[in-house]
């Protein structure tokens, strides 16, 4: 009887050890798999039947190229690139992309919805603009750019405007500007 009990206890202990070992190994495998998945960049280039890439993939590609470009650039050039990209989005009618760069409080103050921003952009910007950089100053982490923007498409009208940029990281920034009424 006693020997049976001893044997049973021994078997239970062995079983418990095995379960613990299997649990640890499983956990480690799961962690490795998750990290591997995160490491591998998802290939978003979906080849459709006609061979074109999705809009999202194109934009992501472009953002990566800009990040690579500004990585080795000085702060003045980086700010000019950011402003240029912002205005290019507006030129191309990519209002959502431009809107996503606006600072949250600035949006709340002046453009609470994408529609209000789109309406403003269509009224005050054109599809073909030239930008002349007049001045740039840094106040702590804020950059203030003064530029002249000329409508080359129709009116040839030129305005001077200030833009404020706050850089959180490479190609990761907030922008706001003098709103014209």
């Amino acid at each position: 009887m006693k020997e049976d009990k001893k044997t049973r206890n021994k078997i239970n202990t062995e079983k418990r050890k095995l379960i613990i070992k299997l649990a640890v190994i499983s956990l480690c495998i799961i962690v490795i798999l998750v990290l591997l998945i995160l490491l591998l960049k998802p290939n978003r280039e979906v080849d459709l039947e006609d061979g074109t890439k999705t809009q999202e993939a194109i934009q992501e590609n472009r953002e990566e190229k800009i990040t690579d470009y500004v990585r080795t650039r000085g702060e003045k050039e980086r700010m000019q690139v950011y402003l240029s990209e912002f205005l290019k989005h507006i030129e191309k009618g990519e209002y959502k992309e431009a809107y996503s760069r606006l600072y949250t409080k600035f949006k709340r103050n002046y453009f609470p919805t994408l529609e209000t921003f789109t309406e403003y952009a269509k009224k005050y910007y054109s599809s073909f603009m030239s930008v002349t950089h007049e001045d740039i100053q840094r106040q702590g982490k804020y950059y203030i750019l003064t530029v002249k923007i000329k409508d080359l498409a129709i009116t040839q009208y030129e305005i001077e405007q200030m833009y404020v940029i706050y850089e959180k990281g490479l190609n990761d920034y907030y922008i706001s500007f003098q709103v014209k009424y």
């Binding site: 070992k21 640890v24 190994i25 480690c28 495998i29 962690v31 490795i32 990290l35 591997l36 995160l38 490491l39 500004v70 990585r71 650039r73 000085g74 702060e75 980086r78 600072y103 409080k105 600035f106 103050n109 002046y110 100053q137 840094r138 106040q139 702590g140 982490k141 804020y142 203030i144 200030m162 833009y163 404020v164 706050y166 850089e167 990281g169 490479l170 907030y174 706001s176 500007f177 003098q178 709103v179």
Partner: protein
């Protein structure tokens, strides 16, 4: 020989099977985590903004242990002002500074209401460091990212020089360019007058002395013909500095047995690190009569009891 090695290896693995498996898995996990962290590192953009590098370099920098503390103190102070927590912000200021700059909470409240009428953000820059005092230039301005400078023709800001003094391992904060205050007990006395310098206030760009003048005679004691006369100067390691019109600018003429306490100011930059060694009174006149009339000045001088000058060491 190879057979022996194979047998030994097989026996080793048989004996330590689980340890070997766990070791391999642990190595794999660490390897993958290392790769992940290497790819996930945050790139910091190149910038010329270095808030801890002093604009005026004299070999001293803010010690590393104080850099974050100073930044946090400024941040807390600005946030309290934005939130109109007047008393909490007021109490952050060094006591001597409060007495000089904002004698009452109401004075401070008026300043906060004026500057922080709208929500403000700020930028800081270490300006200069000397004698365990760290001076920061703080620019306070509207949240320009929230406004985009709309309705502004240019960028405007309020600027302050805040100083942080290290004493006994602690930091105290002063504002409005106030640096320090020393209580003095420097006295000059002769048979005609007594001059007691009781206090020295050091601001970023001037020194101000509180002085009590006493006329011990039955005559008039003319100490100075006014701030611009050059009759009162301070002596420094680099030369003499005249009294300025800020502070008290009128002539100092004591009637018989008269006394007066005044604050006299001298332009002197703290950054230069030049010590003040004395205060010079170079045209003291004990006069039998004094009318204040320029046309009678020559005659009053000729009838003077005494004409002399002296320097009080500081």
């Amino acid at each position: 020989m190879y057979t022996n090695i194979r047998i030994k290896l097989r026996n080793f693995i048989k004996e330590h099977k689980w340890k070997v498996i766990l070791g391999i898995i642990a190595w794999a996990v660490l390897f993958v985590i290392n790769q992940f962290l290497a790819n996930a590192k945050i790139e910091v953009p190149i910038t010329t903004y270095d808030p801890y590098k002093p604009i005026i370099e004299n070999g001293q920098t803010t010690p590393n242990k104080w850099q974050e503390k100073i930044e946090n103190m400024i941040d807390e102070y600005i946030n309290l002002c934005n939130e109109k927590e007047y008393e909490k912000a007021y109490n952050m200021i060094n006591e001597d500074c409060r007495k000089e700059v904002y004698p009452s909470l109401e004075d401070f409240q008026a300043y906060v209401d004026y500057v922080f009428a709208t929500d403000k953000v700020y930028s800081i820059q270490n300006y200069s460091n000397r004698d365990n005092i760290y001076i920061y230039r703080v620019r306070i301005f509207d949240d320009i990212l929230a406004t985009g400078l709309t309705n502004d023709t240019s960028f405007k800001y309020f600027e302050d020089r805040m100083s942080f003094k290290e004493t006994n391992g602690k930091l105290t904060m002063s504002v409005k360019e106030f640096i320090d205050k020393d209580n003095f007990d420097k006295v000059y006395e002769d048979k005609y007058i007594r001059i007691a310098i009781t206090e020295k206030r050091i601001n970023y760009d001037y020194e101000k002395y509180t002085i009590r003048f006493t006329n011990k005679t039955e005559h008039y004691a003319a100490i100075s013909d006014g701030a611009m006369s050059g009759n009162i100067k301070i002596e420094t390691e680099n030369g003499e500095i005249n009294q300025t019109a800020e502070g008290y600018e009128q002539p100092i003429i004591l009637p018989p047995r008269g006394s007066i306490t005044l604050s006299i100011q001298f332009t002197k930059l703290f950054d230069l690190g030049v010590k003040t060694t004395g205060m010079k009174f170079n045209n003291v006149r004990i006069l039998r009569s004094y009318s204040g009339d320029e046309s009678l000045k020559e005659q009053e001088l000729q009838e003077a009891v005494e004409l002399y000058s002296f320097t009080i060491p500081l």
